[in-house]
Symmetry: C2
Subunit: 428 residues, 2 copies
C-alpha cells in the first residue's frame, strides 16, 4: 500500500457527482485497499460554487478550471454531460496527464474518436462504463470477457424512460400520452421528453455498444433511429395478442457475413418468453448473442445517482490501480474497422396488421404485394369479418426497404383500408 | 503487433478443450489483433494420445507433462477438473513462469489459496471466469466493475442440472424422480447425479463467489449445503399457490453488520416477479444486490463446450495481453479477511406448511410455538377443513436454528400431524 494519495477531480457535481463524492468518502478504506493507495477528492468544477453540494466541502468547489488543474489531479471524472465544455475540459485533462472517467454518452457517440486519440497520445486511460446502462457492468465484460468470442448481435433496453412508458402501456393498457404523463409525474421523463422518446438517447448508447462489440468506430450519425411516439395502444394490443411485448431496442448486429455492422434504434415486438420481455419499468438490460457463449443478458438500473456512481467508481478504482501499478487499460480496439451497412437493407421479421374489405380475392392481392417485393410470409391470419376484417401478417426476415415498398403497394390496393401497425419482431 | 507468438498449452482436451482449440484456430486473426501478438497452441496434455481430438493435430497431444514444459508455454489452460493431478500441474506451470487459466471450481473452492499464493510468488496471472456460471462474464465484473461499490448479497442459480429439474417440476408438474430421469436422458444430469442434486457443485461456486464479492478467502468447507433431492411435487405446488417458484440458490451475503459472510446453498421460494424466477431449464444467472448499484443480474449458459470455451478464451486474451504489455491482473483481493458466520444464525423468511387437526385452539398452540422461539409470523392462512386442514405460515426473517426449533416444537403438538414443507423465501 502506497501512502501517496491519488488525486481525483470532478467536472460537474450534480446528482451523480455528489453520490461519487459521498461514496469516495464512505468507502474510503475499502477503495484504498482495492487500489493500493488512498483516493482523495481535490476539487469539483461547478458553475455556481455558492450552491452547497451534499457531501462536498465548500473549499473543494471551484468555478475556474485552471484552479482545478493547479491541484494536479491524477484522475478526472466528467459528469457534466453535453458536448462543450466537457470535450475541451477532457482533452485538457488528458493533455495534462490525467486519466479520465466519463459518463458522457453524447460526447462519446459524437466525438469519441477525439477522446480515444487523446488518451492514446498522452498515454492515459479513458473509461466510460457509466455511459451505457448506468450501473450495469457491461462495457468491460464486452471488451474483456468476450475478447475471445465473436459477438453476433446486441439487443439493448438502454433507455429507462421509454421502457417505463411501454411497460405502462402493456400492463395498464394506458395509451401513449397518458403513460408519458405518468412518467413525467414520477420524474422518469423530462418536461421535454424528445431525447428519450424519439430514441436519441438510446441511439448514442447504441453507437457506443456497436463500437465495442465489433471493434470499430461507430458514431451517432451511423445509427438509424425511430422512437416510440408513434406506438399506439392498438400496436401494444396487437403484440399482446401474439404473445409479445413492445420494447424500444438498441440493436447492433453483424451483417453481410461479418463484413459490416448494422446499428439502429426502433420499437420491436419481443416474445414474452424472451429474457428481455421481463425487463420492466425503468430497468435496463442488454442481451448479447455471441458465437461461442450463446445468449447472455446483463440486467440492472440504467440511471439514478447512486447506481451511476457505482459504475463511475468501478472505473475510478480500475484506473487508480493502473496508476499505482504503472499499467494501462487495453485502450480503444478498432482493428476491425467495419463499415456501417445500409439501414434499409437490415433484415428482421416484421409484423403487419392490414385493415381490409372482407371480400373474395383480397387475400390473393395482399399476398401478391408481399411476393412482388420479395417478402416471404411466415404466418397470415384473418381476424374479424366484414368491416372489422384485419389481416395479421408476420414475415420471415426481410429488409426494411422491402417492407416499406410492400406497405406502399398495399396502400395502393382498393380493398386495403389501412396498414396501422408495421413493426419488427425479434425471434425467440 | 509483435510477431513473437504467445505459446498456449492445454491440460486436458475433452469437450471444452477441443472447443478452445477450435476457437483459437478459427478466431486466430481477431485474437491476435486483440492481444497484440498471435497465440499458438503448443501442446495438449491428455491421458490417451492415440484418441483423436477434433481440431487438435495429433503431434500436439502429449501424455508426459515434461514434454509440455519443454515447449515453454506462456499460458497454461487447465480443463481436467478434479483436485489431482490438476493441482500439482498448475503449481508446476506457475513455478515455471506460466500464467494460468482454469475452469476448475472444485480445486479453487478447496485449495484456491495454494493457487493464488503461487501466482503471487511467481508473479504470474491466475484467471478462472469459466469456473462459475460457464459463459457468463461474472467474476471479472464482480472484481472490477463493482470495485467501488459494496456487495450486500449474491443469489446465484449456478447449477444447470438442478435448475432443469426444478423447471420441469414447476412447468410440467413432474415429480422429482421423473424430472431427474428426464434430465439424465437429455444429458443434463449424470448417471450418478449426487454432485449436482445434493448441491455440492453449487457449493464450490458459492465459495468462489463469496470470496470475490467480500474480498476474503472462502472454501467449500465454509458453505452450508442442502440439495434438491428432498423437494417434492407438493412443495412445488405450495410455492406455485403463493406465486413463487422453487430454485436452488447459492447465497453469499454480508452478515452481522458487514463484519462476517454467510454462505450457503439451499432450495428457496422465489417470487415469480423476481428476475431469477424467469431463469429456466439449464440456464444460469447470478443476481447481485449492491449498496450503490442496486439490483443487477447476469444471465447466460452455465455449461457446455462452446460457452465454457468462450469464458476460457476471454481470460486467455486478457492474460496474453498482460504478457505483451508486461502487465498483470490485480490478483487475489482478500484484504477484508471476514470470518464466516454461523449458518444456523443466517436469517431468511421461511415458508412452512403444517398439517393439523381442524379443531378449536390449534391455531393458538401453533402460534405459540413460533412465539416461544422468537419467530415472528408475517402471514398465516388455513387451507382446507377437517382432515385436509393445512396451516400455511410465512415468517418474517428468522434464523434457521430458530425455525428448526420451532418445527421440532410443532411436531410435539398433538394436533399437528406433520410439517411437510419448510423452505426459505426470497423477498421481492
Amino acid at each position: 500500500m502506497s501512502d501517496q494519495p491519488l488525486k481525483v477531480a470532478l467536472l460537474g457535481c450534480g446528482v451523480v457527482g455528489s453520490q461519487v463524492a459521498r461514496l469516495l468518502d464512505e468507502h474510503a478504506d475499502d477503495m484504498a485497499a482495492r487500489v493500493g493507495a488512498p483516493l482523495t477528492l481535490v476539487g469539483a468544477l461547478v458553475r455556481d460554487a455558492s450552491k452547497p453540494r451534499d457531501g462536498v466541502r465548500d473549499e473543494l468547489l471551484v468555478t475556474d478550471p485552471e484552479v482545478l488543474w493547479e491541484r494536479s489531479p491524477d484522475i478526472v471524472v466528467e459528469l457534466m454531460g453535453g458536448i462543450e465544455p466537457a470535450r475541451t475540459l477532457l482533452l485538457e485533462a488528458m493533455a495534462r496527464g490525467a486519466s479520465v472517467v466519463t459518463a458522457n454518452k453524447a460526447l462519446l457517440a459524437q466525438d469519441g474518436a477525439a477522446l480515444h486519440d487523446a488518451a492514446a497520445e498522452h498515454h492515459v486511460d479513458l473509461a466510460f462504463e457509466a455511459s451505457v446502462a448506468g450501473a450495469i457492468p457491461l462495457l468491460r465484460p464486452l471488451k474483456e470477457s468476450l475478447a475471445g468470442d465473436r459477438v453476433l448481435r446486441v439487443l439493448g433496453i438502454v433507455n429507462g424512460t421509454t421502457n417505463y412508458i411501454l411497460t405502462r402501456m402493456d400492463e395498464a393498457g394506458a395509451d401513449y400520452a397518458d403513460a408519458l404523463r405518468e412518467a413525467q409525474e414520477l420524474g422518469y421523463a423530462e418536461a421535454d421528453p424528445t431525447a428519450d422518446v424519439e430514441g436519441h438517447d438510446a441511439a448514442a448508447k447504441a453507437a457506443i455498444l456497436a463500437g465495442l462489440a465489433f471493434h470499430s468506430r461507430v458514431t451517432l450519425d451511423d445509427v438509424a433511429c425511430q422512437g416510440i411516439s408513434g406506438v399506439t395502444a392498438s400496436d401494444v394490443e396487437a403484440a399482446r395478442a401474439m404473445g409479445h411485448v413492445i420494447k424500444l431496442l438498441a440493436v447492433a448486429e453483424s451483417t453481410d457475413g461479418g463484413t459490416a455492422i448494422g446499428v439502429r434504434v426502433n420499437p420491436a415486438m419481443v416474445p414474452r418468453t424472451h429474457p428481455l420481455a421481463s425487463v420492466r419499468e425503468a430497468f435496463n438490460a442488454v442481451f448479447v448473442e455471441a458465437e461461442a457463449a450463446g445468449d447472455l443478458m446483463f440486467y440492472g438500473r440504467g440511471a439514478g445517482g447512486a447506481p451511476t456512481a457505482s459504475a463511475v467508481l468501478g472505473d475510478l478504482v480500475a484506473l487508480a490501480r493502473n496508476r499505482v501499478l504503472g499499467a494501462r487499460d487495453p485502450g480503444e480496439s478498432t482493428y476491425a474497422a467495419l463499415p456501417i451497412s445500409d439501414p434499409g437493407r437490415a433484415t428482421a421479421r416484421h409484423y403487419l396488421s392490414i385493415d381490409v374489405d372482407d371480400r373474395a380475392g383480397v387475400l390473393a392481392r395482399v399476398a401478391s404485394c408481399f411476393a412482388e417485393h420479395g417478402v416471404s410470409i411466415e404466418t397470415l391470419r384473418q381476424d374479424g369479418r366484414g368491416d372489422d376484417a384485419v389481416l395479421v401478417v408476420v414475415t420471415h426476415a426481410a429488409a426494411g426497404d422491402d417492407i416499406s415498398a410492400t406497405v406502399a403497394a398495399l396502400r395502393g390496393v382498393d380493398a386495403v383500408r389501412d396498414v396501422p401497425t408495421v413493426m419488427q419482431v425479434i425471434g425467440d
